[in-house]
Amino acid sequence: MIELIEVRKAFNQGKHNEFWALDGINLCIEAHRVTALCGPSGSGKTTLLTLIGCLARPTSGRARFKGEDISGLPERFLTQLRRRSFGFVFQQFNLIRGLSAEENIMLPAAPSGLPQHVVRARAAMLLDRLRLAHRRTARVEWLSGGEQQRVAIARALINDPEVLIADEPTANLDTTLAREFLAILESFASEGRTVILSSHDPLVIQSAAVHRVINMRDGRIVANYHDA
């Protein structure tokens, strides 16, 4: 589904503090599976996620999504693709403070021009599914960490994306909540979504919910093993 060929990514290119976050990544990620990128901080997991999720373009190399080359797409198309096909759960959740859970969840749908009632119904369905219906109108900063993450998940799913990307999803959760999160992930994969996450949490990497673990270090893939 997602193919990366000889992908490199530099920050501050051409300056004295030039830094290659990714250095020659070749990777193919299958659809309908849960893939985990794992490695110490600074290993390039998050950068790789931004490339996969069309948040950024590689400095060199090619990225393909469903066979189509996306590394050369203009910003506009990249944004549309990102909105339609990817949902993001950020490490800090990145919810917009002061707005209600529902308003936050509906945000990615705003530029789509979908009728309001359709988006609202979908948000209600997601809130229900994530057991958040009772917190619908609550401001997000009043929610607990676990609730905030579930709002972030619901927001990632509002446009019904094929791929869900999660950056260090369990970093701010205790064990119970982390297990709960993994269970949610598994249900997504089983309904046909592709899940890609980064983590260095053993709980995630060893979980049965994760089908494939990719080990990274210094911007390269060092080990790559599939589940049975």
Binding site: L49, F90, N94, Q116, A156, D167
Partner: protein, 377 residues
């Protein structure tokens, strides 16, 4: 089309929801903004309508008024001037006018005493302006005494009151008979305050004025067009701003609005990054911000303008009264005809809506072009 509308509605929803987060602050800004538009629009509407009214009412003022100056002060027209003017061709009619000011220590107000050249006021009676009726508490057939500058006391009976509809030109008038006027002010016989001239051919007015100035070098002719120009330019923009005593307030508000609109906080920057990361295009972010600017400034403009309209044309411009009245005691009560200068309204619209919306947009441009992956770093 439907998609576009839904999109804008969603963007407006988000804008309003984010504005609602700092409700007090944004409502306060809106209130100050509205108030500013209200004052500016009031001044614009009032001064335009007053200019219009004055030039219409005074359209048939004397074509030329001839004053005499002595050492830079008005002086009386001595006998013989009328005869000298008589020789100038083109003067259709001329008459010496008698008028002057009287300070009434009872209510500490200045009146304009005058003798109507057409006559019509009996000796011992006066015809008074409506403000006098109101402030001095006079009624028809009541008597009133004025102490002349000579110290003598003279009594008059109010024979008539000038119509309230004409207060704007007649509020402080006291019309009297010529004999009464001369006795009261001990005005020397044969002297006049000034001379009003009628000219047969309007094209000739300037020539005649030049001849008058040449024939009577101590005189000063004032043309009707000059009188009208005085009113056509009354409360021009400079005086209008003083009237509003606003220049300082405008600047203060500009700074406030700029600070609020242009100062993009770290929090807002972060939010724009989030919006971009979750699939908003730069254009969506900008459209959302345009809506913010337009909603606030358009609301302020519309509400402020409508309030100003009601204030000036339905409320008689009551808030201007203390400013226009100054130290005066008599003040006419008047309703202006709502003559509206479309260009002024358009200008006001432009200068209230556009700069604010632009101020909202300036920093957004910078933030919206930042990379969407910034939130992940």
């Amino acid at each position: 089309m439907n998609i576009w509308i839904e999109q804008q509605r969603a963007l407006i929803d988000f804008t309003l929801a984010s504005l609602a987060r700092r409700k007090a602050r944004n409502l306060g800004l809106l209130a100050v903004y509205t108030l500013l538009v209200f004052v500016l629009a009031s001044v614009a509407l009032f001064s335009h309508a007053l200019r219009h009214e004055a030039t219409r009412v005074l359209a048939d003022a004397p074509e030329i008024v001839l004053q005499r100056l002595v050492a830079g002060r008005h002086d009386l027209i001595p006998p013989g001037y009328l005869e000298k003017i008589g020789n100038i061709r083109g003067v259709q009619k001329m008459e010496g006018r008698l008028w002057g000011y009287y300070y009434d220590p009872v209510i500490k107000a200045n009146y304009t005493f005058m003798v109507p050249s057409a006559g019509g006021v009996e000796r011992g009676t006066i015809v008074i302006g409506a403000a006098l009726e109101r402030v001095r508490g006079l009624a028809l057939e009541t008597g009133i005494s004025f102490r002349a500058y000579s110290g003598k006391l003279y009594s008059f009976v109010v024979a008539d009151i000038l119509p309230h509809d004409s207060e704007l030109v007649s509020a402080d008038l006291v019309l009297m008979h010529e004999d009464d006027f001369r006795t009261f002010f001990e005005f020397p016989a044969g002297h006049y305050t000034d001379i009003a001239l009628a000219v047969a051919n309007p094209q000739e007015v300037r020539n005649i004025a030049a001849k008058l100035a040449a024939a009577l070098p101590d005189s000063r002719p004032i043309l009707r067009e000059e009188m009208l120009r005085t009113y056509a330019s009354i409360f021009a923009w400079r005086e209008g701003i003083v009237l509003a005593i606003l220049s300082g307030a405008i600047l203060a508000f500009a700074i406030l609005a700029w600070d609020k609109a242009a100062g993009l906080s770290a929090e807002e920057k972060r939010e724009i990054g989030i919006l971009k990361a979750i699939g908003w295009e730069t254009g969506d972010v900008i459209r959302m911000k345009i809506w913010e600017g337009v909603l606030i400034s358009l609301t302020a403009f519309l509400v402020g303008y409508v309030a100003a309209y009601l204030h000036v044309f339905r409320g008689g411009g009551v808030l201007f009264e203390p400013v226009l009245k100054g130290w005066a005691v008599l003040y006419p009560r008047f309703q202006l005809a709502p003559e509206i200068d479309g260009l002024a309204v358009a200008t006001l619209f432009f200068f209230t809506v556009v700069p604010y919306t632009a101020a909202v947009l300036v920093p957004i441009w910078r933030a919206a072009t930042t990379d969407p992956d910034a939130v992940m770093r």
